[in-house]
């Protein structure tokens, strides 16, 4: 896939020849320096943006616009403040035309999965950041998507909440068998969660290298093997961060 953003100030190639595959039920982490096109990649898979060239394939079918088989979760929970928690979770089903009673029942089931059933009637603003993100997760899962696309969903949370959500996401993943594409710039997070970590290059983004991670789950963040692997990836990543900074300097002082 390739993607170039065009603006009056010039063209910004975001992706060039990116090729990522995920097996069904696989947990893939996309890792890369900021501005490497991770978010763009997810947006294109979700169908919210179009690639200039290349196609997103799913089970041998090219993917068109956005669809409930691939739901994107954002860094901010993006819950709707005018709906209570249950109706937020039921929103996607409402958009699919599921009758009210049925979708509320489905929403309650999902809320139970993320252990928030007693907050079904609460307003969104009464929840903490971590709880909101769990509601966002339940809202996505309510649609029973094949693929869950997650764009740094835990980046804005504190370390403890993030760790709790890592555990929760892993148990949800093994319970549901969803394919997950998870974007992060945090090496350890990628290793804790992913079956496979795909390292993207600096802009324009393409796959630089891949790492398998077969450690038994749940994986503690402090495990030695994990820290060693993170070290190896960090060395790789650092050269990309430098490249990204060079690029930024170059943009500030164009020749």
């Amino acid at each position: 896939m390739s993607k170039t953003f065009r603006s009056p100030h010039g063209d910004f190639p975001a992706l060039r020849g990116l090729d990522v595959r995920a097996a069904s039920g696989e947990f893939v982490c996309l890792l890369g320096p900021s501005g490497c096109g991770k978010t763009t990649t997810l947006n294109i898979i979700a169908g919210l943006e179009q690639a200039d060239s290349g196609t997103v394939w799913m089970d041998g079918q090219p993917v068109g616009g956005p669809g409930p088989d691939r739901v994107l979760i954002f860094q901010e929970p993006a819950l709707f403040p005018w709906l209570n928690v249950r109706d937020n979770v039921a929103f996607g089903l409402a958009a699919q035309g599921v009758p009210r009673r049925e979708r509320q029942r489905a929403a309650d089931v999902q809320l139970e999965m993320v252990h928030l059933q007693e907050f079904a009637a609460a307003s969104v603003h009464q929840l903490s950041g971590g709880m909101k993100q769990r509601v966002a997760l339940a809202r996505a899962l309510a649609l029973n998507p094949q693929v869950l696309l997650m764009d740094e969903p835990f980046a804005a949370l504190d370390a403890q909440t993030r760790e709790a959500l890592h555990l929760e996401l892993q148990s949800l993943w093994s319970a549901t068998g969803k394919t997950i594409v998870f974007v992060t710039h945090n090496v350890r997070e990628a290793l804790v969660l992913g079956d496979r970590v795909v390292l993207l290059s600096a802009r324009p983004g393409h796959v630089k290298s891949e790492f398998r991670c077969d450690l038994p789950r749940p994986r503690p963040m402090e495990s030695h093997t994990l820290v060693d692997m993170a070290q190896a990836i960090l060395t790789d990543l650092r050269s990309e961060v430098q490249a990204a900074q060079e690029e930024a300097r170059h943009e500030q002082h164009p020749l």
Partner: protein, 253 residues
């Protein structure tokens, strides 16, 4: 101190100050009547049925015209907020017309509709509809892009996206437009009634001037202000409070 108590004290103080000024005899009573004279005039006006009739007439006019303004203003604002082209063309016209005090439409309305209820309704609608349209369009335009992306990734499109996300997200802005629109409607009605229309509070006000009855003029002004305040307290504040609670903003004001 509770806000009701401070409010009561403030207005009691104001009346006392008024009475003191009257007793200083700085101006003759027909220019500056005492609070008691105004209260008596108000009382007489209510008892004789003149003020209740005027209030009912004015309220009926403003309610009808305001309902019409909402029916025109909100859909128009929804359209303006979503279409760049409409915003550039019609939006500019709406913005320009807002510079025109609505009472300036009265001569045109009289020529079009004659001396009729329609003429006054037209003036009131022209006073209220623009601010409702502009606020609604603003609300729609300021829908957080994140909400739209979230809704689209869940498969919401077209009408569902509009009614499920854009409209509710614009609700606080629409509400403040409605509130503004109401006060414009009320003022426009008073201006129009002053200038010609029979019955209504504005008419009673003009009558007071013609009879040189300053107490009555002040009494009617008091009624006009009170009705404005009451609608604000009874209708718009509760609605705004509910929205603020829902949105989790109630601590801010």
């Amino acid at each position: 101190m509770s806000s009701t108590r401070s409010r009561l004290l403030f207005f009691a103080g104001l009346i006392v100050l008024w009475e003191i000024l009257v007793r200083l005899h700085l101006w003759p009573a027909y220019v500056f009547p005492s609070p008691l004279a105004v209260a008596r005039s108000l009382f007489d006006g209510i008892l004789s049925g003149m003020i209740p009739l005027a209030v009912l007439t004015s309220l009926r006019r403003v309610t009808l015209a305001y309902a019409g303004s909402l029916l025109i203003g909100i859909p128009l604002g929804l359209l303006l907020g979503r279409s760049r082209m409409l915003q550039d063309t019609l939006g500019t016209l709406v913005l320009g017309l807002q510079a025109l005090p609505s009472i300036c439409w009265l001569p045109l309305a009289l020529l079009w509709f004659g001396l009729s209820e329609a003429a006054i309704a037209f003036v009131v609608v022209m006073g209220a509809v623009l601010s409702i349209t502009l606020s609604t369009a603003d609300g729609v335009r300021n829908t957080p892009p994140l909400y739209l992306r979230a809704a689209r990734t869940m498969g919401a499109r077209g009408w569902r996206l509009y009614s499920g996300v854009i409209l509710p997200s614009a609700l606080p802005a629409i509400l403040s437009g409605m509130k503004l629109g109401w006060s414009f409607a009320w003022r426009s009605l008073m201006a129009a009634e002053l200038l010609y229309v029979s019955l209504g509070l504005g008419q009673v006000l003009t009558l007071g001037r013609e009879l040189n009855d300053m107490a009555r003029v002040l009494a009617v002004m008091l009624v006009i202000v009170t009705i404005g305040l009451l609608t604000d307290y009874a209708v718009f504040r509760p609605a705004e409070r509910r929205v603020r609670q829902r949105w989790g903003l109630q601590g801010n004001t």
